[in-house]
């Protein structure tokens, strides 16, 4: 019996290990990071983080995890192999969200309380520039070619375009109320910006800085006020977008070519941010008010599991390997 069971276990281990990713969730109110295994779809570790952890991302090689510790005014760097805190980077006051360049050496951080974007050299822990933007800056996106940085300011209602090399502003696009999140399509031809209070997602041509399309959402049985788009994820083929709708407790599945909404998937309460596994098999959602994470099977467009994490989960990131 015993050898047989061991053999079984070994077979199992041999069959899956390369596809397992780690998913990192920031729990804003319990000051922790939940580490999830994408194979077992369960929390495998809970790490203490700084105060009010919000934005989260991994380095391109997956070896480092960056976390905005908003109330500690710093970006924490964890070693993903040990999940030990390595160091804390300068960030400017109240870092909320951030983007990392492809080389992995520059962080572009939104400072929610001081209306600026801070650019930090990760290796030297040095502030390279501070760019004034609108009130309550939040969403941060870097174009795939690394040339254009975009920040959304929640109270000014704009997407601010910044030259990512000179750090000079190059344009501002007015969008609907309380823009929360910005993301470029993989080919850089589109910028998607969610407006939480405006209830819409603007698809912007980054070159002309014109709004190509405003996507609106209509969930039967819900008032328009309950539909508050926040996190967005786009598939690599440019065909599908997922939009978290906040207190509508749903993720909208949008055809990214026709901009039609195809489906609404019921997840936990006040869904904030989303993360796709690199193989695009699963989409994970951080549900802020129900304190859990939902897992969506991307091929079947079905919610297959929800499980508890810490208090007020907000940010979510997946390791690249």
């Amino acid at each position: 019996m015993k050898p047989a069971r061991l053999a079984c276990l070994m077979l199992f281990v041999a069959a899956v290990p390369t596809s397992a990713n780690k998913v990192y969730v920031t729990n804003e109110k319990s000051n922790t990071i939940s580490v999830i295994d994408s194979d077992t779809l369960s929390v495998v570790q809970t790490i203490k983080a700084g105060r009010r952890p919000r934005g989260v991302l991994t380095s391109p090689d997956g070896k480092l995890l960056y976390v905005c510790a908003s109330d500690d005014d710093g970006v924490q760097v964890f070693d993903t192999a040990t999940m030990k805190l390595q160091r804390t980077l300068l960030s400017g006051p109240d870092p909320e969200q951030f983007a990392l360049n492809a080389a992995g050496n520059l962080l572009y951080i939104s400072n929610e309380d001081s209306s600026e974007v801070t650019i930090v050299d990760v290796e030297k822990n040095q502030i390279m520039a501070r760019v004034p933007v609108g009130v309550e800056p939040e969403g941060m996106a870097l174009s795939p070619d690394g040339a254009v940085l975009v920040n959304t300011s929640e109270t000014t209602n704009m997407a601010h375009f910044i030259d990512a090399r000179t750090f000079k502003p190059i344009g501002n696009v007015l969008v609907d109320k309380r823009p929360r999140y910005a993301i470029f399509s993989r080919d850089g031809s589109q910028l998607w910006v969610s407006s939480e209070v405006g209830g819409s997602v603007a698809v912007i041509d980054p070159h002309s800085q014109k709004i190509l399309k405003k996507i609106r959402f209509d969930v039967p049985g819900l008032t328009s006020e309950e539909i508050q788009p926040v996190g967005i994820r786009l598939t690599a083929d440019g065909k599908t977008a997922f939009v978290a709708l906040g207190p509508a407790n749903r993720v909208a599945v949008v055809d990214a070519q026709t901009f039609e909404v195809r489906k609404y998937l019921l997840v936990g309460q006040r869904v904030w941010h989303l993360a796709l596994t690199p193989d695009e098999k699963y989409l994970f959602t951080a549900n802020g008010n129900s304190n859990d994470v939902s897992v969506i099977d991307v091929a079947g467009l079905r919610v297959i599991k929800s499980f508890p994490v810490g208090a007020a989960p907000l940010g979510i990131a997946v390791s690249p390997h």
Partner: protein
């Protein structure tokens, strides 16, 4: 006699001129003009005046007196937010503080500013004065934003086409509270109106609201034991408080005491243990220091940094009015008050007000639709609309006077 001498007023009064020049304007102008916007060569000036009486000193027994600059501080924070957005698109926002002495007449006091072309007034004034000001500036196309008076008549029979309200009406406040009582199934209340004129109006709003949400007023006992109960706190007052509600089978006492005379005093001094709500105890309000959800923490912190105190409801209401003007000016690229008024009442307007659902103006009475917080001094109890109260248009319209009930006859802005 002073009415004939506006220049005298101008000399006497201290006008603080706060021109909020966003630090960001220079930075924004360094960038290229956005491709999808009109060229920002010609800067547009949007001038707003804030009008209120200087807060008189409060007697020493008032623990939390209205601070100097109440209301103005909120408008001033909003003007900085407007100016930041404006800086990116070539719009300059300026705010003037017209602080009135006790006896000053606002309609007279604004004349020098009307001459300078100011047409947008955010006011923290009593109902009659807000109304008189709206009438005085109407012929020149001026708009008045009421950030203080909760009087329902300003939204009803006495409404004006150029008078907007960011202060919730008493009907909205009472509805917020009654929804909560209905959800809790605390359906029997003892209503205790005070002697003030506002108390009678608040009590009236509670009666209407109780009927609307199926809460029963099992008894009504006016507070007749004289003013300043809390300040006096003598043996007679204490025995009055003990006995006046004896034997009434109510879940809760709802007090109408806008002067803060007795509402706090009743709590813990009745013969049977009774919760207190209304103007004291559990209060419905537009804003509260304990409210931090929906991004409110950012607004609370910004306000504290700018003013070294907590944001109060009138600050918030003045903030919302000034932000609404800013949003309308930005969206319409106009400073023309008629364009702003039309846009504010159109379905295109909405405003993020840090209470979840976006705010908008009801076109039938120009009242800002907004959620109502339910709070006791150190804790937030809830927010209305409470779940389950539905409305065919917006759940926010479950609070206050609906279109079909409105006594307001001017539904469109006309000059």
């Amino acid at each position: 006699m002073m009415k004939a001498r506006p220049d005298f007023f101008a000399l006497r009064r201290l006008f603080r001129i706060a021109v909020a020049v966003g630090m960001l304007i220079a930075a924004a102008k360094a960038g290229a003009a956005p491709a999808n916007e009109a060229p920002a060569n010609e800067a547009l000036n949007i001038d707003i005046a804030f009008v209120a009486h200087a807060r008189p000193p409060s007697p020493p027994f008032v623990l939390d007196p209205p601070p100097p600059g109440e209301g103005f501080a909120g408008a001033n924070l909003a003007i900085q937010e407007n100016a930041t957005t404006g800086g990116f698109i070539g719009q300059n926002f300026a705010l003037t503080d017209i602080e009135l002495a006790e006896e000053d007449n606002p309609a007279e006091a604004v004349k020098p500013w009307l001459d300078k072309g100011v047409r947008l007034f955010v006011v923290a004034l009593p109902a009659d004065e807000a109304l008189a000001l709206a009438d005085a500036v109407r012929s020149v196309g001026g708009l008045v934003f009421n950030a203080q008076a909760p009087d329902d008549r300003l939204r009803g029979a006495d409404c004006r086409p150029n008078l907007f309200h960011t202060a919730p009406s008493r009907a909205m406040l009472a509805d917020g509270l009654m929804q909560y009582l209905a959800v809790r199934r605390w359906s029997k209340i003892l209503l205790v109106p005070g002697a003030g004129a506002g108390d009678a109006l608040f009590a009236e709003a509670v009666r209407a609201s109780a009927k609307k949400f199926g809460v029963k007023i099992v008894a009504e006992k006016p507070w007749t034991f004289g003013p300043l109960a809390r300040a006096r706190s003598d043996a007679v007052t204490e025995s009055d408080a003990l006995t006046f509600s004896r034997g009434i089978d109510a879940d809760m006492i709802v007090v109408a005491d806008e002067a803060e005379d007795f509402g706090d005093y009743i709590l813990y001094r009745t013969s049977e243990p009774r919760l207190v709500a209304g103007t004291q105890g559990l209060t419905p309000t537009s804003w509260h220091p304990t409210h931090t959800a929906w991004g409110a923490e950012q607004l609370q912190n910004r306000f504290i940094r700018a003013s070294n105190r907590r944001m109060r409801p009138i600050d918030y209401q003045a903030w919302a009015a000034t932000r609404a003007i800013g949003e309308a000016a930005t969206a319409t690229r106009a400073a023309d008050p008629q364009k702003i008024a039309a846009f504010l009442q159109s379905p295109s307007f909405n405003l993020a007000i840090f209470k979840g659902a976006p705010a908008s103006f009801r076109p039938w009475d120009r009242q800002l639709r907004q959620a109502i917080l339910l709070a006791q001094p150190k804790s937030l109890i809830g927010m209305a609309p409470q779940p389950g109260f539905l409305h065919q248009r917006s759940t926010l319209d479950s609070l206050g006077v609906d279109e079909s009930e409105s006594a307001c006859k001017s539904k469109q802005v006309t000059r």
